[in-house]
């Protein structure tokens, strides 16, 4: 895995121990199930589909953040299902402005908190879907990261534009069928591989970048906690299934998300002060086919294309975990 520029040693963990994050991982971040905040800040009763993986990403992140946070949100499925006027699922201050500007809105919120002397008390989280992050919101995110605002950006990646009816995004995996990458006589589905957004973000030299999965809640929450604790921008890219978008039964979404990680289709790591560290190594490497088989979006794939995906995964696996 690529290593990006070193983070200056003044970047300190200001959450618990105050140790320099440039030193080893601060073990105080280790979470235990019993440490998890029982308070809910993302309320039940929202309009999300049964089995939606993305709502889990919202809910768990807020459990870590607690009440003293302001959330900005990009247009997308999570925004729509959580805020139909006059209802709201948000028990923390929340603002949605447009599709491509969650990070820019967050910069404004952060600047205002600074100017009003409230910054020490209130954290800022920006949410965006994969489309709102890796495609249309890319510029605003890059700008906000480069300017060094103290905020956490969480991209919930369901691998397509779900809100508008499952169109492909730059984060859609190879071969996936979406409404704009349908298989047909001349097509095997999506022709491109997933954009490597976490590394593109890491290239900004920000203190903390992590990938996560809703199937690994403690790992995800530890990462959000760490992201909130560093000074400056932090980025968490969380893989989260969409039941209609992926074509899976609602009770299968966590199983599918777990298989994504166990097959190597999604790798859990963090890049802290420029140093990469894998946070979970699957004990048994599952074949990609097993992951694909569970989802309608891949059902049309022939052996040839499955092989392409398996090879792609094998290469990355070797790079990250070594040959085995």
């Amino acid at each position: 895995m690529k290593v990006v520029a070193d983070i200056p040693s003044y970047v300190k963990c200001r959450h618990v121990c105050g140790a320099s994050l440039a030193a080893n991982r601060c073990f105080k971040f280790r979470l235990n199930v019993k440490d998890v905040n029982e308070e809910e800040y993302f309320a039940p009763g929202h309009r999300g589909c049964a089995g939606c993986g993305c709502t889990i990403a919202m809910r768990l992140a807020l459990k870590v953040a607690g009440k003293n946070v302001i959330v900005t949100h990009a247009t997308g499925c999570m925004e729509v299902i959580s805020s139909p006027y006059p209802e709201t699922a948000w028990r923390v201050p929340w603002i949605h402005v447009a599709f491509e500007n969650s990070a820019a809105v967050a910069s404004g919120v952060e600047a205002a908190l600074k100017a009003l002397g409230k910054k020490d008390r209130v954290k800022v989280i920006a949410f965006g879907g994969d489309g709102g992050t890796v495609d249309i919101g890319f510029q605003a995110l890059s700008g906000a990261l480069e300017r060094g605002h103290d905020f956490v950006y969480i991209c919930y990646d369901n691998e397509a534009y779900m809100n508008t009816g499952i169109q492909r995004s730059g984060s859609t995996p190879y071969g996936a069928s979406t409404t704009t990458s349908p298989p047909g006589k001349e097509s095997f589905g999506n022709k491109t591989f997933k954009k490597d957004m976490p590394h593109i973000v890491a290239a900004h030299g920000i203190p903390y970048v992590a990938t996560a999965s809703v199937a690994f809640p403690l790992d995800y929450m530890e990462k959000v906690k760490k992201a909130l604790s560093v000074e400056g921008p932090a980025y968490v890219h969380v893989h989260a299934p969409c039941t209609p978008g992926w074509g899976i039964a609602s009770e299968k979404s966590i199983e599918v998300a777990r298989l994504a990680v166990d097959s190597g289709m999604w790798i859990l790591y963090e890049i802290e002060n420029g140093k990469s560290r894998v946070t979970y190594k699957p004990t048994v490497k599952k074949p990609v086919k097993e992951y694909l088989r569970m989802q309608k979006r891949f059902r049309h794939l022939t052996e040839e294309h499955i092989d392409v995906l398996q090879r792609y995964v094998d290469e990355r696996w070797a790079e990250v975990f070594g040959e085995d």
Binding site: W90, P93, I95, V97, N101, S107, G108, A111, A112
Partner: protein, 390 residues
């Protein structure tokens, strides 16, 4: 103490921003606006203005950051022009829809293509339905004063709408004029602290920017329209109180030589200066000027009153609605004066910075005079057009 100085229009705006104690500035450079945000950057760098200054990566993000900061409870400012304003288009509607009292100066500049950095007013006219209050200023002094008034109007609890102060690019931004800079204490007296009714605050969580389905959407829009109606009253009041404290007022519209005028030229912005000079030189009490200062909300009553005696009106404006054959102000005047007997003519002038000279103004008056005599004249003329190049 207020002090008088000679300064560029852009400096005058920066002085106003400093006096209004703006807390967050998010800006992106574009000619002819850039000097404004450069001057503000200097003030922040020197500690004259205690504000967070976000050097965003685009105008879209400038407005987005202003929205975020305003929603968090900070008084915010940005400035732009032309392509920058067009890039903001999407978020302009969101700022007004979310009822955030953001103040922005637009240094009026032509839109591409062809790319052109010079002055006309097509950029802000194109945003007339975006729910922003729009003020068009004539002088650098008025630019400074209008920015201060803009916060009063925007933040009034009966209004809560964003305000765009439009000043002609180069003609004002890059021109030096004597300007009286008010005293900080005076401004404090005039402009109360920003105290918005709802802010993003963990102590009292609110949801902003909800989804409004067909059951609710229309009421949101109607409330904006009602707020605009209130803005008419509040803007008038804000100007009157400004006059009491600072000794200068502008009105929502400004009449010049109107008392006995049968022919009235109508315009917005700095062109009023050239027209006034032409009228002075002409010395004809039958020819007057009406300058529209507040364009949104449109002061219909004031305009009807001011034009009650006019027989021929010639609207000289720096914009054109392509495909409708005339400028937007002319169309709107026709609507406001519907049923009146006045003949309404239009003059499209100064697009892309083409000079508007006193000769053009005299031609516009001549055309109006011929119409008054009952001769048939062109309804819309393009001033200074090179016919041979078409």
């Amino acid at each position: 103490m207020p002090h008088k100085d000679v300064m560029h229009g852009s400096r005058a705006v920066a002085e106003a921003v400093r006096l209004c104690d703006v807390k967050v500035v998010a800006a992106y450079p574009i000619t002819p606006q850039t000097h404004i945000v450069e001057d503000i950057a200097e003030m922040v760098a020197n500690g004259e203005l205690k504000a967070e200054y976000i050097m965003v990566e685009s105008e879209h993000s400038a407005m987005s950051a202003c929205i975020g900061a305003s929603a968090t409870g900070a008084r915010v400012f940005t400035a732009t022009a032309s392509q920058g304003l067009a890039l903001m288009h999407e978020v302009l509607w969101i700022a007004s829809g979310m009822r955030l009292p953001i103040v922005m100066v637009n240094a009026n500049r032509a839109l591409s293509a062809p790319i052109n950095i010079w002055n006309d007013q097509s950029d802000s006219i194109a945003e007339r339905d975006s729910g922003w209050v729009q003020i068009y200023v004539e002088t650098n002094q008025e630019a400074l004063d209008s920015v201060i008034q803009a916060y009063r109007i925007a933040e009034h609890k009966d209004v809560l709408l964003p305000v765009m102060v439009c000043m002609d690019g180069f003609v004002l931004t890059h021109t030096v004029e004597p300007v009286e800079v008010p005293d900080e204490e005076q401004v404090k007296r005039y402009l109360p602290e920003f105290d918005p009714p709802y802010v993003l605050d963990p102590e009292q969580p609110v949801t902003m920017g909800s989804l409004g389905d067909p059951n609710y959407y229309m009421e949101f829009r109607k409330q904006q329209e009602l707020a605009m109606e209130n803005a008419l009253r509040v803007a008038k009041q804000a100007d009157e109180e400004f006059k009491e404290i600072f000794g200068r007022g502008y009105g929502l519209v400004e009449g010049y030589n109107l008392e006995n005028a049968e022919i009235v030229l109508v315009t917005m912005g700095s062109l009023a200066g050239t027209i006034k000079e032409t009228l002075d030189a002409l010395g004809d009490e039958k020819v007057g000027l009406l300058r529209i200062r507040l364009f949104r909300p449109f002061p219909k009553e004031e305009v009807r009153k001011a034009l009650a005696q006019a027989k021929v009106i010639n609207v000289i404006e720096k914009d054109v609605s392509i495909g409708f054959g005339e400028g937007a102000l002319m169309t709107e005047l026709k609507s406001v004066l519907y049923g009146s007997n006045a003949k309404i003519l239009g003059t499209v002038a100064g697009l892309g910075g083409r000079d508007i000279t006193m000769t053009h103004i005299r031609e516009a008056i001549e055309r109006a005079k011929r119409a008054l005599r009952g001769e048939s004249v062109e309804e819309v003329a393009w001033a200074g057009l090179k016919e041979e190049a078409l």
